[in-house]
C-alpha cells in the first residue's frame, strides 16, 4: 500500500510543478514526471507476488505470471508519451525563437 501512496505523491509533485512554475521547460519536465508516475501505477497494479515475467516457457508450464495486460497498455502509453514530449519541445523551440524567453508571463505580455 505504501508504494501506491508514494506513487500518488510523485503525481502530486508533477502537478505542483505544472501549476506553479512559469518556465516552459520546467512545465514540460513536470508533465513528463506526471506521465512517469502513471506508468509506475499501472505496473504496480499488475504485479503478483512470486510471479515471473509473462514469457511462456514450454518446459515449465505451471507458473504464476504477472498481469500482461497493464504492461501492454503502458508499452503503448510510453511511446505516445515520447511523441507528445517531442511535439511540446518543438513548440517550445518555436516560442523561444520568436520571443527569446521561456517565461510564460513575458510571452503573454509580448503578445500583439
Amino acid at each position: 500500500m505504501i508504494a501506491y501512496i508514494m506513487c500518488f505523491i510523485l503525481f502530486l509533485v508533477g502537478l505542483y510543478g505544472v501549476i506553479t512554475r512559469r518556465n516552459l521547460v520546467k512545465i514540460a519536465v513536470s508533465l513528463s514526471i506526471m506521465e512517469i508516475s502513471t506508468f509506475l501505477f499501472f505496473a504496480l497494479i499488475g504485479y503478483v507476488d512470486g510471479g515471473v515475467a509473462p514469457i511462456v516457457d514450454p518446459a515449465d508450464p505451471v507458473k504464476v505470471y504477472v498481469d500482461p495486460l497493464p504492461q501492454a497498455l503502458v508499452l503503448t502509453a510510453i511511446v505516445i508519451g515520447l511523441a507528445t514530449t517531442a511535439m511540446l519541445m518543438a513548440i517550445i523551440i518555436r516560442l523561444y525563437r520568436k520571443y527569446k524567453t521561456f517565461d510564460i508571463r513575458e510571452i503573454k505580455n509580448l503578445r500583439g
Binding site: L10, G17, R21, V25, K26, A43, V48, Q71, M87, D103
Partner: protein, 175 residues
C-alpha cells in the same frame, strides 16, 4: 517488494522536487532523467522487462531532445518575486491537490493489495496464448495480436507527431 519500490519512488520524488526547483535549466532536465531511469529499475523489480527496455530507449531520446532545446537558450530561469497572480495559482493548486487527495482516499480502498492482484481480466489472454498467437512473450501477444488495431492507431499517432514536429520547425513565422 513494497518497501523496495517505496524507497526507489522516494528517490524519484527527491529528483522530481530538485528538477522543479533547480536554478539551471540543464540540471533540471538531467534531474528529470533521474526520475526516468529510476522508473527502469522499478519496472525490472516489477517483472516487466519489455517495459524496462522501451523506457530506457524513450528516456534517452527525451533527454537528448530536452538537452538540445535547453543548450540553445540562456539556460537560466528568471526569478521574480511572487505577485498576486502567483498567490492565486498557488491557492488554486492547493485546492486541486486537496480534492485529488479525497478521491485518492476513496479509490485506494477498491484496489487490491500490492502483490495480491487477481488476474480476472488477463486469464483469457494467458490461457493458451502461446498457441493462439504463436508468441512466447505474452505482452507481445497482447500488443500485436489481441490488440493489433490499438497498435496500428499508435503507429498513426507517431507518424502524426513526427509530421507535426517537422511542420512546426519548418514554419516561417510572421514578422
Amino acid at each position: 517488494m513494497d518497501l523496495a519500490i517505496s524507497v526507489i519512488v522516494g528517490f524519484m520524488i527527491l529528483g522530481a522536487l530538485y528538477a522543479i526547483h533547480a536554478k539551471d535549466l540543464l540540471s533540471s532536465v538531467i534531474a528529470c532523467g533521474i526520475v526516468g531511469y529510476s522508473l527502469v529499475i522499478c519496472f525490472l523489480l516489477l517483472k516487466a522487462p519489455d517495459l524496462a527496455i522501451v523506457q530506457i530507449v524513450v528516456d534517452t531520446i527525451t533527454l537528448i531532445i530536452m538537452v538540445a532545446v535547453v543548450l540553445d537558450s540562456s539556460r537560466e530561469e528568471s526569478y521574480s518575486k511572487p505577485d498576486t497572480q502567483g498567490y492565486i495559482t498557488a491557492i488554486t493548486g492547493l485546492l486541486i491537490i486537496v480534492i485529488l487527495l479525497y478521491f485518492f482516499a476513496v479509490s485506494i480502498q477498491t484496489l487490491d493489495v500490492l502483490g495480491k492482484s487477481s488476474l480476472r481480466m488477463a486469464e483469457y489472454y494467458i490461457e493458451g496464448a502461446a498457441q493462439k498467437t504463436g508468441s512466447a512473450n505474452l505482452v507481445t501477444g497482447v500488443v500485436f495480436d489481441f490488440r493489433g488495431y490499438d497498435t496500428m492507431g499508435e503507429a498513426v499517432v507517431l507518424v502524426t507527431a513526427v509530421l507535426g514536429v517537422l511542420t512546426i520547425l519548418r514554419l516561417k513565422g510572421k514578422k
